[in-house]
Amino acid sequence: MATNTQIPVADRRAPVMEPGHTFVTIGEKVSNIVLKRPISLGWVLGFFIMFSLMNMLLFALGYLFLKGTGIWGINIPVGWGFAIINFVWWIGIGHAGTLISAILCLLRQTWRNSINRFAEAMTLFAVACAGVFPLVHTGRPWLAYWMFPYPNTMNYWPNFRSPLIWDVFAVSTYFTISLVFWFVGLIPDFATMRDRAEHPLTRGIYGILAMGWRGSARHWHRYETAYLLLAGLATPLVLSVHTVVSFDFAISIVPGWHTTIFPPYFVAGAIYSGFAMVLCLAIPIRAIYGLEDFITMRHLENSGKVMLATGLIVAYGYGIEAFMGWYSGNQFDSMLLWNRLHGPYSFWYLSLLATNIVIPQLLWMKKFRTSTFWLWVISLVVLVGMWLERFIIIVVSLHRDFLNSSWGMYYPTKWDWMTYTGTIGMFLTAMWLFVRILPMVSISELRTLLPEAHVHEAEEVKQ
């Protein structure tokens, strides 16, 4: 039977991988980015900027440890300021990586194969950035281990009825599973890197990480089993982590927080911002490193569609919140709605509606979905919008609660801003290193997309 070198694709859709590639060209193309490509001036300059931002984060945190959380804008009534906004924002961004790697794996979506590696890396770095905030928000981060149930001299458990403790478990489990999933997926690629590296030290490091991978049938069998099991383990986490994060709010009685729609609405929002971050990174990376063959318009368009779908769920959430403000007849709920639209933060609420709901509707049009420029702009807009969403949920709900006498305003300080931009620096520093140290596209999984990798036994029997 003649081998079809073209990958069969549906009409009018870009292919998952451009034609003409073989096992060898894939391995060369991806590993050469790490092993052969010289370090460019642009990379060094970008790294310098991001590394400086990360050091600004360390400076801001150092001053925080010295002075305490009083340097931030938080006070009563708004006790949860930037720290919690940024925590939820970063955790949400992480979700796309797990969705792509786990759920799309179980659903056998082959287009995930070329973006799952850096989406998972993005997840890990985003969760690491997210983890900084609740840690420093405790005020005494050196006692943060008190949140874990361990046999302590106080003979006391943490308060298991508090959703903040559920958060500790949800986020730490999430990070662990994501890390293991990422590492297991990397093992065959580490072996490729080991085999292609020339410097003995590089070869040794990749060799240790490859854990003696030979690519034997038994290795592949076990690898596939482990990968599938991990995908199964990670799948509920996509839903559970942000559900638990939403409980931080929904369990309380604050108007604007105390709603049952929070878990699905938070999960959708998380995937929304996560895919925005994937696009935000994938579009420049594929252009700079010439990966258009592997990350095709198909991937970008699909990500745009996911954004459109999850964005509509988020819009539904906003709609229900507004509807319940009116329908409940509760004066505090209707006050919240009024306050969002006409209160001191109304500009930001309207900006939220524009960035999160109105502008992304452009994705209905194929012209915008298939334009890298517009996709990149829209994904940046969505990232801003999802940040504003958390700002509105936290600050606007808290600043005017049941008693007029306890109303107040929240103004972030320069330390808030330094910490926030600092984590962006930390995230991008990690990304900068990642693209130069690890194969940012999965070599082994790309190879499975080639026709040569498919078994045609049954058809041969028919002949």
Binding site: N152, T153, Y156, G207, G212
Partner: protein
């Protein structure tokens, strides 16, 4: 292309198991260290300006705790005796002993003797001696065999788990009020029952329950509230 010999598989396997034991061992060491006298100072004899012996004064001479610690039944603080209390006797006996010179000097000048504190709770803990003494908690339940201490030392760890051990089940330790200051009190046994109001108790559990009721000790739920001690 393998770059490591086959034998490195053994190292990889060993490191997997080793990591588990190393982490578990580290946790164990930290947990033990945190409860050791290095952190708690339990059992550590501290030097004092005068080598005062509780053993001599309590066991040898039979002086009651309250002769010196006068406020223990009415106040949160048991009370450190003024030099005058020492001089009640030492104006008459051992008047020339060299190591009592700081006591006489204190009496002459009116400046207190600066004892080194032995039992110290952190400032965020509210502790009241009188409530414990009046509800039937013996001195040596927390302070240990003071009557056998030539130089006083802290007996218990005074960590929160030590306090909660009793607050969660006070019946394990309660004794009749009149036995609170008896340093040689023994919990009831079948051979030597403790008699309260004409009823002989052969088990601490039963005695404790009865005393809890009689002394109106509040429920474990109430006395383990955070603000019972952290006010």
């Amino acid at each position: 292309m393998q770059i490591f010999p086959r034998s490195s598989n053994a190292i990889a396997r060993a490191s997997l198991f080793g990591a588990v034991f190393a982490v578990a061992g580290l946790f164990w060491v930290v947990a033990q260290l945190q409860r050791s006298p290095y952190i708690t100072y339990a059992g550590v004899r501290k030097s004092q300006p005068v080598p005062f012996s509780h053993q001599h004064h309590v066991t040898g001479l039979g002086i009651d705790c309250r002769y010196c610690h006068t406020s223990v039944e009415q106040s949160s603080f048991a009370g450190i005796p003024p030099t005058k209390t020492c001089m009640n006797c030492h104006a008459q006996i051992w008047t020339n002993a060299a190591y009592l010179e700081p006591v006489r000097e204190s009496f002459r000048s009116g400046r207190s003797i600066e004892w080194t504190r032995v039992n110290q709770l952190p400032n965020f803990v509210y502790f009241n001696h009188s409530i414990h003494v009046n509800k039937g908690v013996g001195c040596n339940t927390c302070h240990g065999p003071v009557d056998q201490m030539p130089l006083t030392y802290q007996y218990a760890s005074l960590q929160m788990e030590f306090c909660l051990d009793c607050h969660r089940a006070p019946e394990k330790y309660l004794r009749p009020r009149e036995q609170v200051f008896n340093m040689r009190y023994e919990p009831p046994s079948t051979g030597e029952p403790v008699v309260v109001d004409g009823i002989a108790y052969a088990e601490q559990g039963k005695l404790g329950e009865a005393l809890k009721k009689q002394y109106k000790v509040r429920s474990a739920r109430e006395i383990t509230d955070c603000n019972t001690c952290h006010r």
